[in-house]
Symmetry: C2
Subunit: 340 residues, 2 copies
């Protein structure tokens, strides 16, 4: 009874509306985020106020600042990934809002936290209580902040969509990105053999140090043929690039392979052979975010296997623009985190 | 005991090797099939000799004559579809040889009957006993001959791969072809609402007469936008064309849609948007032929729903070249059958 009463007083007290917080606000496209003081948000029905301790960046945040997203509404506080405290407990935020009733696809009300809803690059956030989960205890704030969006995306793509089995061979393209690296860690934990590709030899080395069987540099001639010879081909391929590098992935597939697609940073796919597609019985499976049940299963999987997300770098909230510049440059390996 | 003895005498009797039969033999690419007398084949271990009563053509037969197939070995008797008599019983031939142990994809030993193994355009065929099934009783010889390859392909694509459910909306592109028309009949029998596309208004009319909700002529401007407005979008799309008409199909998909691809007559797919693919959680599923279990399930489905394959035209075996010319022209609606 006592905590409920306190909550009531906190939320309903008129002085609440006078409370202010630090936040990174996007006012104008193509300009820096504004590190500023704004009113602390007021939770609505079904929502709670979380005191954030760390947030993490996703490419999505950068693209929004560049106007590369539909239905941008300004001003907005960016940020999909966050961990913090609610009633003295460490909580992780599920950034998938209002998925809907169909596990196959999100409904019309679905949003990713951080646009249009204000996100995690702030001291406080109002968030549906249903989107909170306990923070895995083996992770510190920064590691936990790195998990939600990338973990959910990787989990749904690998397991719900591609139905990865232990012992299968997996290729993860562009292994620098947060989801790609998380997918690699998840696939390894699930007992798969994982190969990676990147244009950066350093990233390939690091991926091998983390457990990958091998890596291929897609800037080298015939990298795909060498990789096929070395690996024998793949049961599952995870890609977020698309573009002209996608069609050759079909040659790397074993019969019955599944290609999970969760992004398309290099644009449209050309030269895709329907003959290889049907003769090898390949499945190309689009995937984005995931259901509340998938979020819970992902957290259970991470906890059971004591997976620690790879943190590339940590910035103070006040240095959010430097963090955005780092994700824009594409040099990172793993997640870029903001301490709050 | 007595039939086994008879079989032994028939197979082992030296005069058997002197028996001859009529067959359509492909000796040389880009030339007519040769309607000629050749020795009746001699079954090997596990095989039986079937007296054929009807065969049906597939585009594959035409493509082989044009050299558009890998590993062509000549001379060969073409033909994947056949029905006939074995020990006084009416039997249907499963044209999928040695699928292998993995239901997800055919193994390395897999062949489609009619290359390299001699096919059904002949009076007799030797065929593994395991590839025989009872002819559905509601079908005559010509209708039954129209069923095996197209039925198996349509069944696996629609049900095993795309997991079509009753009440879903289906688009079948290029409805003139044998598999497309069969897929339409199967989807209707399964309780789906079916739309079709074609470049030929007559085929659209006939498809509607057979139960389709509506048809779109893809030679008309904005046919896809009109079709989306009319239908509300599709849960399942079945395509065998690929080419530049494939990418716009993604716009016609509902969230969670599955696109089954069993052919690629218009060549490579260009301009495919990974963003639409992942945001709508679309699955693009290559499919070809099917397992022995799928063949049995297809026959049970056809029998239960008393589905009668659409026969476009019937030719005598001696007129096989005219039949090939008809499939090459693409004017047919349904299967082209040879009476034997």
């Amino acid at each position: 009874m006592f905590p409920i009463l306190l909550e009531f007083i906190r939320l309903k007290h008129p002085f609440h509306y006078l409370r202010r917080m630090k936040a990174l606000v996007l006012h104008t496209l193509h300009q820096d985020l504004d590190f500023t003081d704004i009113p602390t948000p007021v939770p609505r029905a079904g929502e709670v106020l979380v005191r954030l301790r760390a947030a993490a960046l996703n490419r999505r945040d950068w693209w929004i600042t560049q106007g590369q997203y539909s239905k941008i509404q300004l001003p907005v506080i960016l940020g999909s990934d966050g961990v913090g405290e609610y009633r003295g407990k460490a909580v992780l935020i599920n950034p998938a809002l209002d998925w809907g009733s169909d596990p196959r696809a999100q409904g019309k009300e679905f949003r990713v936290l951080g646009l249009p809803d204000d996100g995690t690059f702030a001291e406080f956030i109002r968030i549906p209580r249903a989107n909170l989960a306990p923070k895995p205890e083996h992770l510190n704030w920064e590691q936990a902040a790195a998990l939600p969006l990338a973990g959910l995306t990787a989990y749904r793509t690998l397991f719900s969509r591609c139905r990865l089995q232990a012992g299968e061979q997996v290729l993860i393209t562009g292994v620098g990105g947060g989801v790609a690296l998380m997918a690699m860690q998840f696939a390894l934990a699930a007992g798969a053999k994982v190969w990676v590709s990147s244009g950066d030899p350093l990233k390939l080395e690091k991926a091998v140090a983390l457990g990958a069987q091998g890596g291929a540099n897609y800037r080298e001639a015939d990298w795909d043929k060498s990789l096929k010879a070395e690996s024998g081909g793949f049961d599952v391929v995870i890609d977020s690039a698309g573009g002209d590098g996608f069609a050759p992935l079909l040659n790397l597939c074993k019969p019955g392979a599944r290609i999970g697609v969760y992004g398309g940073s290099l644009g449209k796919i050309n030269g895709l052979s329907p003959q290889i597609l049907f003769w090898k019985q390949i499945s190309i499976l689009g995937s984005t975010m995931g259901t509340p049940a998938e979020f819970r299963r992902m957290l259970a999987f991470v906890t059971r296997h004591r997976i620690v997300p790879v943190v590339d770098s940590v910035f103070a909230l006040a240095d959010g623009n430097a963090a955005l510049a780092r994700i824009a440059g594409g040099e990172q390996l793993g997640k870029i985190v903001l301490q709050i």
